[in-house]
Structures are given as structure tokens and as C-alpha cells.
């Protein structure tokens, strides 16, 4: 057990080092995210000009939701893990893992955790810079239970995001090019994950249906818990559904890996 932990700890440390090399890429991405935040502030500020409440929430609560989602995105989202896995399969780099006592999923997940630690830390810098400007627009709820429920929700969200990216990476066993599928899925995930608008602003039946999809638990669910858009009962029920999706996706990952390896041909030494 200890030996296994040490193995993935080393993978995590390597991931940390290689992601620190790309710190400027993450920093640039973080900087441009502030422009996205400016669009959100301008659009929703104008939408709230004639009304005090949209969907039962005021402007500050709505803006807090988007700022929270931006931060979460850098801490728990899969960025380009699907491409990295795809490249490793296509270039035959996975061959080395087939010969060693290492689980490829856990290896990639260790690197994913390291990458999000680096990108998460780097989004905090521009955000701290912007804090004097946006501080008055933020309003977080004060109930302590939210943090307790949000932590497992965040951990499972990260697992769901990584698992979906892993599944797309696995598609490389069947398709030469997965970029189109990934960007297509990004559009679906952006909408049903609540990144474009809070999902509770959609018509009630669509919102209810969205709660049974994995995308809901990618961003909206932890974001809604932290920003007061979900009550305790809904949050606990959501945690249970989220756990089911984690299990389903982990099983899907293993099936795709096993099936994909049957199609894989390793050439050379």
C-alpha cells in the first residue's frame, strides 16, 4: 500500500515540476479569464439594471456564482488531459506503462491533481489583483455546513471532470482524431455544467432533468453549494447522485481501457 502510494506520489511530483514549466501559459490563461469575468460583469450588470432579482438571486449573488466558477475551473477542471492521453496512445508512449506495475488511470490522475494545483494557484494571483475592484460585488452565504458539503462535492467533481477527459482520451483507440469530439463535448459541458449561465435560470423541467446528468456535477453543483443557490436537502441528495456518477464513470474508464488495449498494437522497443 505504502509502495503504491509512493509510486503515485512520485508521479504527482513529476507532474508538479512539468506543470510549473508551463506556468506562463496558465498565467496568460488566468489573465484572459479576467476579461471573461469583465464580460460577465457587464452583461449581468446590464440585465439586472431593470430588476432587483433574477431567478430569486440578486446581482451580487449572481456575480459571486460566476467568480466562484472561474476559480473552481482552475482548481478542478480538466484542461487538456484528453489531448495528453490521446497523444500518449497515438505515439505509443503508453507502451511503457503496459510493462510496468503502474495503473495508467492513477498515474494520469496524479499528474492531473498536480496540474490543477499549479493552475489553481496561478488563477489566484490575477484574482487577488482584481479583488479591490470586484470585492463589493461579491456576497457569500455564511452557513458553515456549505463548506463541509462542498469539499466532498469538489473532490467528486474533479474525479468526474478527469474521468470524462480520460474517456475522451480512450477514444483514440478507435478514432485517429478526437479534437472535434472534445470541443463538441465542451459546448455541452459548458451549458449543462452551468458555466454559461446558472442552471437554475432554465425552465424547471429542464433544470430537474439536468440534475440527473454528470455535467451538472462538474461545475454547477459545487459552485451552487458554495454560493447559496442550493439548500442542504438538495445538496445532500446531489452528493448521492454525484457519487453514483463517479462510480459509473470509473467503471466506464476501466472498460474503455481494457477494450481499447485489445485494439492497441505496440511496435518497437
Amino acid at each position: 500500500m505504502r509502495a503504491a502510494f509512493e509510486k503515485y506520489r512520485q508521479a504527482f511530483l513529476v507532474g508538479l515540476q512539468s506543470n510549473i514549466v508551463y506556468r506562463w501559459n496558465f498565467a496568460v490563461r488566468g489573465f484572459f479569464s479576467l476579461f471573461h469575468l469583465a464580460v460577465v460583469f457587464i452583461l449581468w450588470g446590464a440585465a439586472f439594471a431593470g430588476t432587483d432579482s433574477i431567478g430569486g438571486f440578486d446581482l451580487r449573488q449572481t456575480l459571486t456564482y460566476f467568480v466562484t466558477l472561474l476559480v473552481l475551473q482552475f482548481f478542478i477542471s480538466a484542461f487538456n488531459e484528453d489531448y495528453q492521453i490521446s497523444e500518449e496512445i497515438r505515439n505509443g508512449l503508453i507502451n511503457q506503462f503496459l510493462l510496468k506495475p503502474i495503473n495508467y488511470f492513477l498515474y494520469r490522475f496524479s499528474i492531473f491533481v498536480a496540474a490543477r494545483l499549479v493552475s489553481g494557484a496561478l488563477i489566484l494571483l490575477p484574482l487577488i489583483g482584481a479583488l479591490p475592484v470586484i470585492h463589493d460585488s461579491l456576497s457569500f452565504p455564511s452557513e458553515p455546513w456549505r463548506l463541509g458539503v462542498a469539499l466532498p462535492a469538489l473532490a467528486m467533481s474533479a474525479l468526474i471532470q478527469f474521468s470524462i477527459a480520460y474517456c475522451f482520451g480512450m477514444l483514440t483507440f478507435w478514432f485517429l482524431e478526437i479534437q472535434g469530439f472534445v470541443i463538441l463535448s465542451m459546448a455541452v459541458e459548458a451549458v449543462l455544467g452551468g458555466q454559461i449561465f446558472p442552471l437554475d435560470l432554465m425552465p424547471e423541467p429542464i433544470f430537474r432533468a439536468a440534475q440527473y446528468l454528470p455535467f451538472y456535477y462538474q461545475m454547477y453543483f459545487p459552485g451552487a453549494i458554495l454560493t447559496g443557490r442550493l439548500g442542504l436537502a438538495d445538496a445532500l441528495q446531489g452528493l448521492a447522485i454525484q457519487a453514483v456518477w463517479v462510480a459509473v464513470l470509473l467503471v466506464a474508464n476501466q472498460i474503455l481501457w481494457a477494450r481499447g488495449l485489445r485494439r492497441h498494437t505496440a511496435v518497437g522497443g
Partner: protein, 262 residues
């Protein structure tokens, strides 16, 4: 001029043949663009479920604005995106030599080599959004207004093209233009907002300094409010200014290009 038209025609034919070879790719990428355009329209639909106007713009006025923004972006993606995006990579790898040896203006050759038919197909969808919104608003623009709208969309395209060339030209100095793609898409988000929504610093930055708002607002206003000299001249002037800046920076950068070692 005719020479350049022939060169562009040959490039366009090559792109079409390539698209026919990879029909699956064409289908998937057309769908990708369609999905992302739908996301923008969905945002408008959701916001207007809860409010009647945004910065004085009604739902269909907003859709007309978003449709115009998407139209300009689809033209940029269709005619120039792949070529300009590859330019950054070619300068880094030294493959840019290929364009130096071609019989014509290097900037033209490097930025017009590839067409993306999937984006051009979707420009029809964006245009349909504009027409649908205009009909919902009961607008009946005359020939002059439609021609002016087309002219201002062209100016918007020139501005987008210039901004992208300017950004990617940074590769001549930095040897890497990574992140430009995301930066460009972030800036175009502003073009889907009404000009009246910008106040204070954002007004100065995104309306006056960067022409990201005026590119879509000016043509949309022609259909909504008829011919406004101030907006038309403003956009045309900005297009000329940004294009001149792009040409200048591109050629300054070209002097630094040292083939594969750059």
C-alpha cells in the same frame, strides 16, 4: 489584383478538395461551430426569460447583435483562421520559408492559404439568425441599408483579421504565440454585448481603445436604426487604422525572421 484572385482561387480549390477527402471531419467541425453558436443564443434566451431588456436592447435586438457578431467571426474563421493560426507555428518551426518563396505579397500568401468550409457553412446559420431577428422586429431594411450592413460587416472582418495578425505576429519576437487563440475568443465575447452596457473604464477600454464592441454594434445599428454617419465612419476609420497597424507590425516582424533558427 487579378493575379491575387487567381492565387486565392487555387488555394480555395485546394481547401475544398481537402474537405471532400475528410468528410467526417467536415461534419464534426460544422457541428462543433453550430453547437457553440447555439450556446450564445441560449444565453440570450435564458437571460430574456427573466428580464425584458438589457442596456435598452430587447430580446430580438440582442439576437440580431449576437447574430452579426457570429457572422463576422464565422467569416474570419472560414477565410483566415487556419492560415493565421498556422503562421505562428510555421514561424517557430521555420516552415514559414515556404511563403517567402511564393510569387506575391507574403502577408497575403501566409494568411489566405487555407479556407475552412465548415465555418463558411455556419455563416449561413449566423445570417439566418440576423434575418429571423429582423423579421421578429418587423424591420424592412432597404437596399442601401443592407449594402451598408454588408460593408460594415466587411469592416468588422478587417478589424478581426488585423487583430489576429497583430497577435500572431508576436511570434516573430517571442517565438511562441501560444494562448493567442484563447485571447482572441475572449476578446470577441465583448462583441456580443450592446455598446450601451459599457460604462466607465470598460467603456474607454473596450469601446474606444479596442474596437471589439463597435465591430458588431455598428452594423447591427444600421438595421435597427438606419444609416448613422458617425457609426459608419467610426468603423471604417478603425478598420483602416488597424489594418495599417497589422501590415506595419507584420513587416517589422518579418525582418526578424531567421528561418528555422528564429
Amino acid at each position: 489584383m487579378l493575379h491575387y484572385l487567381k492565387v486565392w482561387g487555387a488555394s480555395a480549390r485546394y481547401s475544398m478538395v481537402r474537405t471532400l477527402m475528410f468528410r467526417g471531419d467536415f461534419f464534426v467541425w460544422s457541428l462543433v461551430e453550430l453547437f457553440w453558436m447555439s450556446v450564445n443564443l441560449l444565453l440570450v434566451a435564458v437571460i430574456y426569460r427573466h428580464t425584458t431588456n438589457v442596456a435598452g436592447w430587447s430580446k430580438y435586438e440582442m439576437m440580431l447583435l449576437v447574430g452579426t457578431s457570429m457572422l463576422i467571426q464565422r467569416f474570419l474563421m472560414g477565410f483566415f483562421w487556419s492560415s493565421i493560426f498556422e503562421m505562428g507555428r510555421n514561424v517557430r518551426t521555420g516552415n514559414f520559408d515556404f511563403f517567402l518563396a511564393q510569387p506575391g505579397n507574403i502577408m497575403f500568401m501566409a494568411t489566405t492559404r487555407k479556407l475552412d468550409p465548415d465555418s463558411l457553412i455556419n455563416s449561413a446559420v449566423a445570417l439566418s439568425v440576423v434575418i429571423y431577428s429582423a423579421r421578429q422586429l418587423g424591420l424592412h431594411p432597404g437596399f442601401g441599408e443592407v449594402a451598408l450592413y454588408a460593408g460594415l460587416v466587411f469592416c468588422g472582418l478587417v478589424i478581426h483579421y488585423s487583430i489576429l495578425v497583430l497577435s500572431v505576429s508576436a511570434v516573430f519576437w517571442l517565438t511562441s504565440a501560444q494562448g493567442v487563440e484563447g485571447g482572441y475568443f475572449t476578446l470577441t465575447e465583448f462583441s456580443r454585448l450592446p455598446r450601451e452596457a459599457f460604462k466607465g473604464v470598460t467603456n474607454v477600454l473596450f469601446v474606444w481603445l479596442l474596437p471589439v464592441v463597435v465591430v458588431s454594434n455598428a452594423p447591427a445599428r444600421v438595421l435597427l436604426h438606419g444609416f448613422e454617419v458617425r457609426w459608419a465612419l467610426w468603423l471604417a476609420g478603425l478598420a483602416a487604422l488597424w489594418f495599417a497597424l497589422a501590415v506595419f507590425v507584420f513587416h517589422r516582424g518579418l525582418r526578424r525572421y531567421a528561418s528555422a533558427s528564429s
